[in-house]
């Protein structure tokens, strides 16, 4: 563990810390909209982690001069992670919108978007159903 190693890997660790904050928002908060925001934070951190893998020291963006006179001395960063993450961002918004549509439906059915309340409503419904079924089966269920 020398200084060079720490400086070379610090970027990855910083993005992992950000990822974990997003992860914590997803698992520890009960509000569904907040969960989706947490998922977005997590996702964006993964994107940054990926892009940082493609970075080359002293490199520049992978765009050639417009007259296409390419100087062989210029180093370009790796374009492949950029392409993958471009796709991932668009797909991420598609999945986010699907999640948000589910939240709207949940709110319509349950009248709340808090996980605790929804679990309570569900278990109360289960208990009353058991009682009803139990009575029809002679109190055995």
């Amino acid at each position: 563990m020398n200084m060079e190693f720490i400086l070379g890997h610090m970027n990855y660790w910083l993005f992992i810390i950000l990822m974990m904050i997003g992860f914590y928002i997803v698992v520890a908060r009960g509000n569904y909209i907040k969960k989706i925001v947490g998922l977005n934070v997590f996702q964006a951190s993964v994107f940054m982690f990926y892009i940082s893998i493609g970075k080359v020291e002293g490199g520049t963006a992978p765009i050639f001069p417009i007259d296409m006179n390419i100087d062989p001395q210029v180093i370009y960063s790796n374009p492949l992670p950029h392409v993958l993450i471009l796709t991932a961002i668009v797909v991420g918004v598609a999945t986010t919108s699907l999640g948000l549509a589910l939240i709207v439906r949940i709110r319509e059915e349950y009248g709340t978007i808090e996980e605790d309340d929804i679990l309570e409503i569900d278990s109360a419904a289960q208990v009353s159903e058991n009682r009803k079924e139990g009575a029809s089966m002679g109190g055995r269920a």
Binding site: H9, N11, Y12, N31, G54, E57, V90
Partner: protein
């Protein structure tokens, strides 16, 4: 200098993420998620990914925020106070983070030109794009031509999501109207 910019942006990102965690007001949470996306876009610029920065600013900060605001308007404005603090999520998160950091120890250091990601096909794309495509932007060339089928798959995913969203909330106004009628 680059390290300083990266660290500053990272510090701002962490503060934003922690503020999202602490806030109970959902409007503030949504606005902060927009801020988070824009800071991400800035970091992408320093990491040489200008196309990604563009997309993140337009799609991440723009469309996502609008979608979140719309959902908020249809559902709730505030988050309920949590009943009790549980240490389990914190433990899970710390353990996952530790494992991930352990995983990075084998990786090539940041910006190394000899890392496996750099020495594989990336150089080929950079070399061939001027003769194959004749367009300056390598990312565009890879996205729409070399890996065109990936982009087609992406379009299919977006289409599926659109169909899903429409079938989930398509009849929202109609259902509400019916409910009101039934109550009357």
């Amino acid at each position: 200098m680059e390290l300083f910019i990266n660290l500053t942006l990272f510090f701002m990102l962490v503060v934003t993420a922690l503020a999202i965690l602490r806030m109970r007001h959902l409007f503030a949470v949504v606005a902060l998620s927009g801020v988070f996306s824009l800071l991400c876009a800035l970091l992408f610029v320093t990491l040489d990914a200008v196309d990604v920065a563009f997309t993140e600013a337009a799609v991440g900060a723009g469309i996502s925020t609008v979608l979140l605001l719309g959902t908020m308007a249809l559902t709730a404005r505030n988050e309920k106070m949590p009943r009790s603090f549980s240490p389990v999520p914190l433990l899970v998160v710390v353990a996952t983070g530790a494992v991930l950091i352990y995983g990075t120890l084998d990786m090539a250091s940041f910006g190394s030109a000899l890392s496996p990601a750099q020495t594989h096909v990336a150089a080929q794309y950079l070399e061939r794009t001027p003769t194959d495509m004749g367009i300056p932007n390598v990312v565009t060339a890879v996205l729409s031509s070399y890996r065109g089928f990936d982009t087609l798959g992406e379009v299919v995913v977006v289409f599926t999501a659109a169909v899903g969203v429409l079938s989930l909330i398509g009849g929202l106004g109609r259902r509400r109207y019916k409910k009101e009628e039934a109550q009357e």
